[in-house]
């Protein structure tokens, strides 16, 4: 897992242009990252990173790239 891979996944999930997501992105500064967008991001991450939502249920509350990356790194 690298950061760029996660950025790209979230951009594709929310239908955003390449380069829209970076380490400072969160649900307050990204268009489409509302309750529905958050739900879709979680499902996309879970599919890509082998059931991370089951191993790390706290990811459902992660609303920023910083938080998501910390959890994904712990998940391995």
């Amino acid at each position: 897992m690298n950061n760029e891979e996660v950025y790209k996944l979230i951009e594709e999930t929310l239908g955003l242009p390449s380069g829209s997501i970076n380490i400072e992105s969160d649900n307050k500064n990204v268009s489409g990252w509302d309750s529905l967008g958050h739900f879709a991001i979680l499902v996309a991450l879970d599919g890509k990173y082998s059931d991370v939502s089951i191993a790390k249920p706290e990811i459902t509350k992660a609303t920023s790239l910083k938080e998501i990356l910390v959890i994904l790194n712990q998940h391995g």
């Binding site: 309750s35 529905l36 967008g37 739900f39 879709a40 089951i54 459902t60 509350k61």
Partner: protein, 304 residues
Amino acid sequence: MAKNTNSFTIEAIKYNLGEVRINVAKEFPEAAASGLLDKTGIAHVYKTEYDLVDFSAKPLQELLKQTNEQINCLITVTQSHNFFLPGLSSFILSKLDLSKDIYCLDINQGCSGFAHALYLAEKLIEVHPRIAILCADKYRSKLISSDRSTNAVFSDCSTATLIRKGSGIQIKSAKHSFDGKKWDYLYQSIDNSVNGGYLHMSGADLWGYTRSIILPEIKQIVESSNIENLYIHQASKLVFDGISESLKGFVKNIPSNFSEFGNTVSSSIPLLLKDRLNEINKGKSLIAGFGVGLNSMLLELEPS
């Protein structure tokens, strides 16, 4: 695991969908363009402007007309009350001028409500041989327009299901789970200062709950029993796929209708069963209701 031997059939199901058909993509064009709505899998949702009593009485009236006989017991399931008290059954008895001898029970549950009602109906059927389960919810009246995750999935619907004592199916096992600590995943307060009095739903948390709690419970049953039909609450494509894709190797028949009706809350499972009465009354099936509370009820049915 509970075991019971009362046999019954699910004889008929009538439904009433909200009369206003809403095109979700038109409501949320940005979500449609980005492909987000493809993930919910729901193109249209339905809203009613009718009063809850009128909205829910219609399918029961049709059911009684079709079967041309009275019921002995009425179980209502709703979280869309007009009144704090009395419960919906009082208004239904009055509206349809039904007998004072009918035993009535009002259940305050959401998406798991039908499964809870069927569980209780099976226990009551020994003394009340014809039971109607009336599910009715108007969640769309609870939504704030800016919340896409709720507006894109919920539909208003009422269903009436007739359960009759006699040879058919029986409950082989019933497994429930109640986790009150997760109540804040899905709630609506009486107090308007809490989320404006609107429905709050954390879709991500609910999805996580279905994956980490509900899926393993369903899996445990289907792996140990030869389940032919699995009827899951129709929350959305994301939730349905999150469960069904892990079970395809174990259960052949996992029908869905969320794309046609949206998430109709307590009516979701009866809507799924309405065209499958022959299937459920003869096969080995599992009904999986889960939602508000949070709670779940898994009913394993087998031919009697």
